[in-house]
């Protein structure tokens, strides 16, 4: 990895990463009861009664949950159930009408919506990432792939062209894009490559928490599979915490440790992914699981 990416992590975060790497999943078998390493740490993100309604049952209401470092939380539900609204509120883009979103920065808890704009922006482009459904919303289409990847580093004060370029090359490799295309505009990439470029652009600052809004929506199945595979590896490797919005239960099963099922602005069921998909309790979840097409 280049000097500009993950090597420059603060020591505590690097250590934390190492703990995650060590503790999960090898230690699972040794320690009894089996608990992933993140469970022993303090949470990273906390939502408390987050509510934002555009109309009756439109939006999200009374959503509370806790997210731990290195954990992938899937948010599933039908269109219009409020998944994206909740994601916008969690990621600081939409101030909720009620409730709080708290993020742990070292030992301090920050109320995301009470932070100043400057601090929130810094957070968004250093410790957080946001992968949009449509890569055109998350990329700068007018500048080259390399500039897209380097932008976060430049915003953080990186002023060495050679190192920026090396970081961009590294990340293109990691997301399986031919490094020769570093100087191409994203508009000349395929949809799947654009999505992978967007992922690289977000992960270059080594975030701890990434929000993803249907990262594989609108892509064909084989491209989806490659991106899911890539995401799964990166999440494990970097110990990322992820809030993943999807309406595709297969995606959720592949990536998510835990699931929350949303319907008409409320969380109707939450639990471990396998538990929810294999033994759904709420009638709506049962309907959702039974409606998956079996080929």
């Amino acid at each position: 990895m280049s000097a500009l990416s993950c090597d420059t992590l603060p020591e505590s975060r690097a250590r934390q990463r190492a703990d995650v790497d060590k503790g999960f999943p090898e230690n699972l078998a040794e320690t009894a009861p089996p608990r992933p390493a993140w469970a022993a740490e303090s949470p990273l993100l906390q939502a408390e009664h987050v509510t934002h309604l555009f109309g009756p049952e439109q939006g999200c209401q009374d959503v509370s949950f806790t997210l731990y470092p290195g954990e992938v939380l899937g948010l599933v539900g039908e269109s219009g159930s409020g998944k994206s609204t909740l994601l916008a509120a969690l990621s600081g883009r939409l101030p909720p009408e009620a409730g709080h979103v708290r993020y742990r920065d070292g030992k301090d808890w920050l109320d995301v919506h009470a932070l100043g704009e400057a601090r929130r922006r810094t957070l968004l482009r250093t410790e957080w990432g946001f992968v949009e459904q449509n890569p055109r919303d998350g990329l700068r289409m007018s500048v080259s792939a390399g500039a897209n990847i380097g932008e976060r580093l430049m915003a953080q004060g990186a002023r060495h062209y050679g190192k920026l370029r090396q970081a961009a090359l590294d990340w293109l490799c990691r997301v399986e894009i031919d490094p020769d295309r570093i100087d191409d505009a994203p508009g000349r990439f395929s949809g799947g490559m654009q999505q992978r470029l967007q992922i690289a652009r977000n992960l270059v600052s080594c975030p701890r928490l990434v929000f993803m809004d249907e990262p594989t929506g609108g892509l064909d199945v084989s491209v989806q599979a490659r991106i899911l595979d890539l995401l799964r590896n990166l999440v494990r490797e970097l110990g990322l915490a992820v809030v993943l919005v999807t309406h595709d239960l297969a995606v959720a099963r592949l990536l998510a440790d835990r699931l929350m099922v949303m319907r008409r602005s409320r969380i109707v069921e939450a639990g471990l992914t396998d538990q929810i998909l294999d033994d759904p309790q709420h009638p709506y979840t049962q309907l959702l699981v039974s409606s998956i097409l079996k080929v």
Binding site: R121, R125, V143, A147, E151, H160
Partner: protein, 291 residues
């Protein structure tokens, strides 16, 4: 208007001294004070209609009109030259509506209105240089929203400026921005120094004169007070540098000044001459021409 009686006659009836009415001038001066107080910050102002189209220097003319006094000596340059159409028209305009003295000598002028160049002759404290600015917003190329660029300035969120320079190196192998090269002012605001060539950027740094910038169409004013720190943005491994010419000026032999390229015959013979006509004439008159 009572204020009109206190001012000298312009030689033209029906116009206030320096064309603009006193209330407008005062409003512009108030905005200028704010601009001087916050170096590099773009101050909105109520731009007035001028008797010429946008793009001809209406921003600079409004600034000059607002600060001009009867004792001032005015110099106007366009591309460094005193004798180009735009420079001649603006100089004549102020001669007519203000009756002030004008000069082509940089050292004699108290106010110099300019487009594209900073004079080669070093300015001194007490002089005022007024720039005509087409696009005051350095972030505009990447961010079309005015409220977003205002937020970016407020938060010092300037990462995208280096994205632009990065793209330059990708496409041209070096920072190829030739003019309107972005600068950081006093360690705070990023500013577009208007379309002056990159060659003139170092003259902005710690300049003893007051530098005022007026954008008429965009209705923005900004300023560099005397002795302000101005740093041109760059990369550690691609530092800012000014262009140099292989040849000297064909008229005065200068190797230090900014040279214009002239094609002098049908076979494409090229000559290089100083863009700053006053600098060139002064040197020629002093007999510094060597060849």
């Amino acid at each position: 208007m009572s204020a009109q009686h206190a001012l000298p006659s312009t030689g033209m009836s029906g116009y206030n001294f320096a064309y603009l009415d006193e209330t407008s001038k005062r409003a512009i001066r108030r905005a200028l004070l704010k601009a001087v107080a916050i170096p590099g910050f773009q101050v909105p102002f109520g731009g007035r209609e001028m008797p010429m189209p946008y793009g001809w220097g209406t921003g600079g003319i409004q600034v000059t009109a607002s600060i001009l006094g009867p004792d001032d000596v005015l110099k106007v340059i366009d591309q460094g030259a005193d004798d180009t159409t735009n420079a001649v028209s603006i100089r004549n305009f102020f001669k007519q509506v203000a009756g002030v003295a004008s000069t082509t000598r940089t050292t004699e002028a108290t106010i110099i209105q300019t487009r594209h160049r900073i004079p080669e002759t070093a300015l001194r404290n007490g002089q005022i240089l007024v720039f005509q600015v087409p696009i005051p917003e350095p972030l505009r190329f990447i961010e079309p929203s005015e409220s977003e660029t205002a937020t970016m300035h407020a938060l010092g969120d300037y990462g995208v400026m280096h994205v632009k320079l990065y793209e330059d190196i990708v496409r041209h192998g070096r920072i190829a921005t030739r003019y309107a090269y972005p600068v950081e002012v006093n360690g705070r605001y990023v500013m577009d120094p208007s379309p002056i060539p990159r060659f003139d950027n170092p003259k902005l740094h710690m300049n003893p004169a007051l530098l005022l910038f007026g954008a008429g169409r965009e209705k923005r004013l900004y300023a560099l007070p005397p002795y302000t720190r101005v740093v041109s943005l760059d990369f550690e491994d691609h530092p800012f540098e000014i262009p140099r010419w292989k040849s000297a000026c064909a008229i005065c032999g200068s190797t230090e000044s900014y040279l214009d390229e002239l094609i002098v015959d049908d076979r494409g013979t090229r000559h290089y001459v100083c863009s700053d006509t006053d600098w060139c004439e002064t040197r020629s008159a002093a007999g510094e021409r060597t060849t």
